[in-house]
Every structure is written in structure tokens, then in C-alpha cells.
Amino acid sequence: MIYEPSLMAVLIFGGIVAITLGLSFWLGSKAKSSQGYFAAGGGIHWFVNGVAFAGDYLSAASFLGICGMIAFYGYDGFLYSIGYLAGWIVALFVIAEPLKRMGRFTFADALDSKFQSRGIKLAAAISTLVVSIFYLIPQMVGAGALITPLLGFPHYVGVLMVGTIVILIVVTAGMVSTTYVQFLKGSLLVIFSTVLTVMILQRGLTTEPENNGKPTHQFQTIGPAAANDIEHWRSELNLNEQDSLIPLNQGPWENKGILQLTRADKISYWKLTETTDQQYFLSETQYKLKNKDGSLIVNGLPYGAGEGETDFYPVGRISKLPGDKTETGALGPAEFLSTIRESEIILWGSETITEENGSAVTIYFPKPTSGQKVLSPGNHPKFAGIRGTDLWGKLNFLSLMLALFCGTASLPHILIRYYTVKDQASARKSTIVGIGSIGYFYILTLFMGLGAMTSGALDVTNSNMAAPLLAKSIGDWLFAIISAIAFTTVLGTVSGLIIASSGAVVHDLMSSFLKIEMNDFAKVRIAKIASVVVGVIAIILGILFEKFNVNYLVGWAFSVAASANLPALVMLLFWPKTTKQGITVAIFTGMVSSLAWILLSADSYTGIYGLDPTTAIVPFSQPGLVTIPLGFITLIVVSLMTQPKSQGMES
């Protein structure tokens, strides 16, 4: 969709960035030591740190990805919310305090506090870098997706802007400014998500949502009739003799149930939907034709905002409310959910068909769906397996939920936040504040997602924009603020990740593994150089991965983090026979096996290589169910094989 840049959004965005940078410069002038740079001198108040946890964690994927996923697929998006939050329980009850007791700067410090092993430092540093960079990619892609509608720039400009601003923030002050950016962002996100949710409930539900005061386009659905009853369809569409309606069943169009209508030289596509009694409905779709020369046709006209050009219609509405009402008026939270459950909602699916001449048509088609289905699991293509009988589909879902559960406590940028408070009690208290704010926000995601689903404002081509567009359907001011917050969301998370990476380079790789002697000043200088290098890598990858789904990439990061880091952390804390060799080998095994599994999965076959997903080597796409236990087993076996001899004699 084409978005008109809003002056208010630009001003609010500029204001927030200016405040953030101002804060960074001011705080930066105060932090001189390396501990001040990496761990904020251990002097951050636990409440500030707790909200900053929320700021770190509620990344672009949480805010934009989950709201978008709920808006497009219903309850399945909320499963991510539940999994992401559950991971904090592992962090609080199992990892937080022992970690705070053991380390000073990085995840590797904690792992290595018992052994002083260079191997562990190397393994932990590489794993931190890999996970951070994986997690950085979706943040940068999210930044590009936001900047386009907000300021009207192309994707790469958005990525470059975020990269540059973040490098400035990180280089000027390190962990202190990052913490305050996160505190600011976490607070704003929770406050304005509450405002948005209250306004959704106040507005209630309607079958005729308005967008900017204008009614939304009503897509036609005709029938029922037999699929091949062309005469029936022609008469319902009031076609004359010059118009043509052809079922497309050749080559790549085979079995897609699409009919091509040419009326007054304008082409449109219509999709057949089967009813329970083998009758069919025919629905108007939207489409995008990308010609080989790169030109775009949308719904039969050139794509654009000028004369003779067109744009996609915004979508997402309720088609039937209970009791055949047309609107409900203000609703309470439980009433809002129960009304949706009793309604029928138009969701949208899409299908891309590549022609032999190289042009590609993406057809977006309406899917009337019962509210009961919307509020239960299994609508998203990646979750559909749980509704089937195939065991692999079910294992894939189990694997994802396991990775979400185990991944949080293994994310380097979350772990380093434990070093910014002064003691274990503060680490504990800040985690509780974090869980409270994050849990509250995740409850709101369900209302925001469903609000977007029924707002008539969705961009059918981009689910990441659901939350900002929902805000726009309520008011331009709210759109401006939500977009600016979403942008700072990206800024904050990227800052934290870059700090974690630069910490890994300086402390673990250079100082501990390569044994390079450095004073505090040199350490901070090298960390800043490392930040710039990691930032530049993130910018490049953010531009290259433009077309990738944000949540998909986050799933990768969680799986790799959980497989590589969690077995080492947990066993070190709870199994006295753990050895340094066990930890080192387990980190490498978890990291390499999860990466290999991802690269050999059906998702990568379609997403990266463009190959037939049925030929993928691994049976399901999410690695966690196999690679997390593999990490544990490797650690146990290697540790048992490398027990110190003296211990054996004593026993």
C-alpha cells in the first residue's frame, strides 16, 4: 500500500530521536570506565532496569510481528506472546540469580567463572555474535518496513537510518544510554498500547468500519453455484458480450480455483471457495502483477497514487455480528472477545503464481472465517500441522513452543542486563517488574491484533503494519505516536544487541581468548569500533533480507540461542560434574546443529533457495526439539569423558 507521510508523525519521530540522542550524549559524557560502558557501573535502579527489560524484549517482532500475526491469523499470533513470556520463568527461577553471582560483563564471564578456559570464552563469544546477528536482522528489516510508510523513504534508507542512529547511540554512551532508551521505550509502549486498547474497546465492533471517515471497499461475493457454471457467474456479475470470464487451469494456475475476468480491458481475478455441500462461492480478490521489467500492476491499473493509477484497498472487517447487528457500541474486554467468537470475520489469504515469462501474480483473497476458529489455534500456515494427523506437523509446533520457552533465558542481550543492577535482589526485582510489564503488554497484543483484524485498515500486503494502521484508523495523532514508539522499539533492541556483540568481541575474543592486554580506555575504544563493524553488518543484512518474515527470523534466533547457550548455562549451575570441555563442545554442537537444521528445513528451501519444500532433508522446520536435548546430551557425555583424574581418585 502507498502511505502518505504524516507531518505529525515526522515531527514526533524527530522529537523522540532527538531526545534519545541528547540523553545518550549527556550520559555518555559521564561513563568513563569500561564497566560503565558495558554494565552501566552496576548502578541502574532495579525498577528502571525492569522496565528496560521490557524495552529490550518487546522488539519489533513482538510489537509489529505479533499484532500483525493476530490481525491476519487470530489466536496463533497470541501463542507467540504466551511462549515469549513463559521464557521469562526460566530466566527468573533458574538463571537470573546464579548468573548475577558468577559473572561481571558477559554471558561468557558467567560460564567461565569456574574454569578460566579459553575454549569456553571462544565458544561463548562466537555463539553470542551469531545469536545477536540473527536477532539483529529482523530488527533491521522491521526498521525498513516502518520507515517506508512513516517518512515515505525506500526500505534501504530506513535500515541505514536506524543503523546510523543506533551506532551513534551505542558509541556515545554504551549500556547506560541503552538502558535509558529501553526504559523510555518500554514505558511509552505499555502506556500507549493501553490507550490504543481502551479506544478499541470504546469503539466496539461494526460490520461497516470506516477508514479516515470513508467507508471501506465492500468486496463482492456471489453464488452459490457449481464451480464450472460460467453462465451463472456471468449473469450474477452482469457481464455483457465483450466481457470475458475464463477459469484458469493451465500450468502454474492448475487447481488454484481462480477465474480471470476482463471487463472494459481491465483484468481482475476471482477465487472459488467450496461450501460444505460441494457448491461454490466466487469472491472478488485483489492482486499484484510484477512484470519481468519490474513494473507493478495492482487490481488492473498501474500501481501508484497519481491519476490513472491505483493502490490496494485496505481490508479486515467483520462480515456478521451476533444477532445480525451492524454495530455493538462500547464493549468490555471479555464482551469484546465473546462477541468476536460469535461473529464471522473476513481474513485474507494470498497465493503467488509465477508465469513462464517470469512475471509473478500475487492474489490476495478473502476467507470468511468463524470467530470460533479465529480464537482457537491452527489458522496460520506454520501452525496448521496441529489440526492435521501428520505427526511431523505436531512435532514442529512442539519444537517452536520449546524454543520460545528456552530461548529467552539464552539471549545475550537479555543476559547482560543482569549486570546493570547492583546485586541479586535487584536482579530478581527487576525481572519481576519485567515479567509484569511484558505480560501486561502481551495481554494487550490480543486486543490490538483483533482490533486491527476488524478495523478495515489493514494492508493486505504487509502484516507488520497492522498495529500502526490500527492506530491510524482511530486518529492520525495516535498513528504518529505508535509509529514513533515502534521505531524506538527497533532503536532500543538494536542498541542492546550491538552492546552484547561488542562485549563479546572485547572481553571474550580479544581479552580472554587472544590474551591481548588492554587498559580500560583501549577496551572501550575497541568496543566502539566493534559496535560500528557489527552495526554495518546489521545494515547490510537488513537490506539483503528485506523480503523475509520478521517473526520467522526471530524464531531462528531463539532456536539457536536455546540450543547453544541453555544446556551450558543450566548444567553449569546444577550439575557439579560439568567440565570445561563439556561446555565448549555443547555450545558448538548446539549452535552448529541448530543452524544446520534450519538451513536444511522446508522453510529455508522455500524462503532462501526457492526449492521444492517437500524435498527438504529434515522432517520439520523448527530445530529446538532435537537440538536442545542434543546440546544437553553432548555436554553430559563429554563431561563424563573428561572428568579430572584427581576427583576420580578421591571418590
Binding site: 559521564k30 561513563a31 570506565s33 564497566q35 560503565g36 554494565a39 552501566a40 557501573g41 552496576g42 548502578g43 541502574i44 535502579h45 489466536y75 506472546s81 513470556l85 513463559a86 521469562w88 520463568i89 526460566v90 527468573l92 527461577f93 533458574v94 540469580e97 546464579p98 548475577k100 553471582r101 547506560v176 538502558t179 535509558y180 471479555a334 464482551e335 472477545l337 465473546s338 467468537r341 460469535e342 470460533q372 476458529k373 480464537l375 482457537s376 489455534p377 491452527g378 496441529i386 489440526r387 505436531k394 509446533f397 512442539l398 513452543m401 520449546l402 547492583k422 546485586d423 541479586q424 535482589a425 530478581r428 526485582k429 519481576i432 515479567i435 509484569g436 505480560g439 495481554i443 490480543l446
Partner: protein
């Protein structure tokens, strides 16, 4: 303001080994409670997704009620943990003073 103090790190909290092991045991117990709740949710979604459509009360189905319960329980357990650990510290404080004398 505490948050703007960027001097050297303050010394960490002094914990005795008894407090540490008590906190660890408490953390593990609460973790197992949550793991059972989360595991039940994941297995129900995986192997009996139709059960999630059952309406429990106020027009809300099991999927919504269980999901909200998981989020709220996480916070409640976190509060319980924080409160019990604080009690431990409060009760051990006078002992420390005694020892100092």
C-alpha cells in the same frame, strides 16, 4: 538518583550458602509448577486443538482462558518468589547483626 550513578560497581549482596540453596530450591519448585501448566497448554494445543474451542464462561473459550491464565500465573509466581526471598533476607538480617556483635 541511583540510575545516574556510574561509579564503580557496588559490592554484591552478601548471601550465606543457606539462603542461596533455599532460593534455588524455591525457584526450582515454582519453575516445575509453571512448567506443568505450560506443558499442559502446549500438549493440549498440539494433540487436542478442538478442545481449545470449548466455551468455559462469559463466552470465553479454553484457548483464551488458558492463555491469559499462563500470563497472569507467570506474574503471580514471580511475585510469590520475590516475596518469599525477601522474607528470607529479612529474617536472616538480625542474625547477621548478632554475628557482627
Amino acid at each position: 538518583m541511583a540510575g545516574f550513578d556510574h561509579g564503580p560497581s557496588e559490592p554484591g549482596e552478601q548471601e550465606n550458602s543457606e539462603t542461596i540453596s533455599r532460593n534455588t530450591r524455591l525457584g526450582l519448585k515454582l519453575f516445575i509448577v509453571y512448567l506443568a501448566l505450560y506443558g499442559g497448554f502446549v500438549f493440549l494445543n498440539t494433540f487436542a486443538p478442538a478442545k481449545m474451542e470449548v466455551v468455559l464462561f462469559a463466552g470465553l473459550n479454553l484457548a483464551i482462558v488458558y492463555g491469559f491464565t499462563l500470563i497472569i500465573t507467570a506474574f503471580v509466581l514471580a511475585m510469590i518468589y520475590g516475596w518469599l526471598c525477601r522474607n528470607d533476607m529479612a529474617s536472616s538480617a538480625p542474625e547477621k547483626q548478632e554475628a557482627a556483635k
